[in-house]
């Protein structure tokens, strides 16, 4: 058992039915999707039954509670007793991909494959333990993983909040950058994440941008509850200006402050892999540099000066950063964020969730589209910051 609460267990790989998911918690009168999961006591009994069946031991579950994080997969923490090869009291995380989540319907496998592929690499991730997609088991697609110690640095802070101390943010920023470089440098072929590759239509350096634009264009079509000509215009621009990727990499898809844990200035885990896919590494670089995640500071994700971040990333990854591609994917990222907000509005409108944060997200579509249009108008530009300076 490691300090991070990693369950021991030789063959405790990911197995089970099929699965994945996470999302908002529900109110007392929960929508049907959350009713299928049941209250915490019911869920704890189901979890104990499942883990007992998986391990052949009598596993007891206690302290199960939902964390108020995220809008997609539901996240619960609990303690398991009696897991073979683990600590007497093993802290675990359960993620549920309820239909009440933003991007439902879900499957657990992409994020499970990502965690499996990154175990033992320079990208710190929790160990995936069990997963499945059969809602008959826990009411929704699910994934169990180790509970890693640490807390999230929040991306959204009030204007009066003090900035992160320089030494702390730079130390975190360096690790944040290096983990991303390691992710993009991963030789993913031959690892579980390679299952994302569609044999009939593999992602290539030439088609990576077109693929992701087509995917998100279809999602906008599905989620938008009214016409957004500015989104349509943005998609057109993206189709016309698609760059070639420097390589086909594992792209996290939501790499930012808020999606990693830190403890004592050390990043202990990169989380929230549900949007993982194969594509252009510039996509993650652009997501990191979204203005929404700067928290009112001049630093990307509240951590690093832009020029320093891109310089360090290039040095660590060996990938030459193209600011034209970063700009292109910034435009894409703003459209993707707008689409995410459209999904929130639809999820709430359809009654799949009563999470009162959803309509707040839904009100941000215009913000993202305006920023996207400005970004297109301004064009690529050098990153701000001292360049060679520290942080």
């Amino acid at each position: 058992m490691s300090a991070t609460g990693r369950p021991g267990g030789g063959d405790r790989g990911v197995r089970g039915v099929r699965g994945e998911g996470a999302g908002p918690g529900g109110p007392p009168q929960a929508p049907a999707a959350l009713a299928a999961i049941g209250d915490d006591a019911t869920l704890a009994r189901k979890v104990a039954h499942y883990l007992s069946a998986q391990t052949g031991a009598t596993v007891e579950v206690s302290g199960l509670r939902r964390f108020p994080v995220g809008f997609s997969w539901l996240t619960y923490g609990f303690t398991a007793r009696g897991l073979p090869g683990a600590a007497p009291e093993q802290a675990l995380i359960l993620r549920l991909g309820s239909d009440a989540g933003l991007f439902a319907p879900y499957t657990a496998w992409p994020q499970v494959w990502a965690l499996q592929s990154l175990e033992g690499t320079a990208v710190p991730v929790p160990r995936a333990c069990w997963a499945g997609d059969d809602p008959a088991v826990l009411g929704a697609p699910f994934m169990f993983c180790e509970k890693v110690a640490g807390a999230a640095v929040v991306p959204w802070v009030s204007p009066s909040a003090p900035p992160l101390p320089d030494g702390y943010r730079i130390a975190l920023g360096d690790q944040f950058t290096d983990a991303l470089a390691a992710l993009h440098g991963l030789d993913w072929r031959g690892r579980p994440i390679a299952r994302l590759e569609a044999a009939a239509a593999p992602v290539t350096t030439a088609n990576a941008a077109h693929r992701v634009i087509a995917d998100w264009g279809a999602l906008i079509e599905r989620w938008a509850m009214r016409p957004y000509p500015l989104a349509q215009w943005g998609l057109r621009w993206l189709e016309r200006n698609a760059p070639a990727a420097p390589r086909v990499a594992v792209v996290h898809g939501d790499y930012r402050t808020g999606n990693f844990l830190e403890q004592g200035g050390r990043i202990t885990a990169i989380l929230d892999w549900e949007l993982v896919h194969l594509g252009d590494p510039h996509e993650d670089l652009a997501w990191v540099s979204l203005p929404m995640y700067m928290g009112g500071s001049p630093y990307l994700c509240r951590l690093l000066e832009p020029a320093y971040f891109f310089g360090r990333y290039a040095a660590r990854s060996g990938i030459a950063v193209s600011m034209e591609s970063v700009h292109y994917y910034q435009v894409f990222s703003l459209l993707k964020l707008a689409a995410t907000h459209m999904a929130a509005a639809r999820c709430f409108e359809e009654g799949r969730s009563n999470d009162m944060r959803m309509p707040a997200m839904g009100s941000q579509v215009a913000t993202c589209l305006r920023q996207m249009e400005r970004e297109i108008r301004q064009g690529p530009r050098p990153p701000a910051g001292a360049g060679g300076g520290k942080g």
Binding site: G25, P27, R66, F67, P68, V69, V153, V154, W156, V157, S158, A161, R226, P227, Y228, P229, L230, Q232, W233, R236, G258, D355, M356, R357, M358, P359, A360, S363, Q364, A366, T367, L369, R370, E373
Partner: protein, 161 residues
Amino acid sequence: MNNSFARLIDGTCATLRAEVLPRIDDEYARSQVWGVINLLNTLKVRADWSAGFLLQQLEAQRLALAGAAEALRGTPGLPDEAPPAVPQVPATAELLAARDQGNRLIGRLLEWLADPPPGLDAAALAQAQAALLGAMRAEVEIELKHSPRPLFAQMSGAVEG
């Protein structure tokens, strides 16, 4: 209801902040209360009392005043002030439908301009595209002028340190 819509929202938000939130320990429940406050702030700048029931009240007034005037026709000293005209207020659903129809039209025109017919004057093309872009910008600007600052920090339980 005798209070203004905006004052009621302000009072509701203040009560939630000062009286309800301090007594809630559950993190998720707190995030939901902040979500409610965020929504109420949006309603304050975008909503008002429904015109529907006011129109019903106006119509009732109009009928009553007309009936009284008919009954008292020719009576000396009868005030002959005319009842107020009932304003023509379009239903919000009609306005939303008209906006969406306009946006669909803008979208179709943008598609058409993306692959324009041969011989279309370049200046005319640019002028048309600029006009459409101006309308799209205006829509989001107007929307954002009527959007309060979102409370994401509070909704995410953003307490550091």
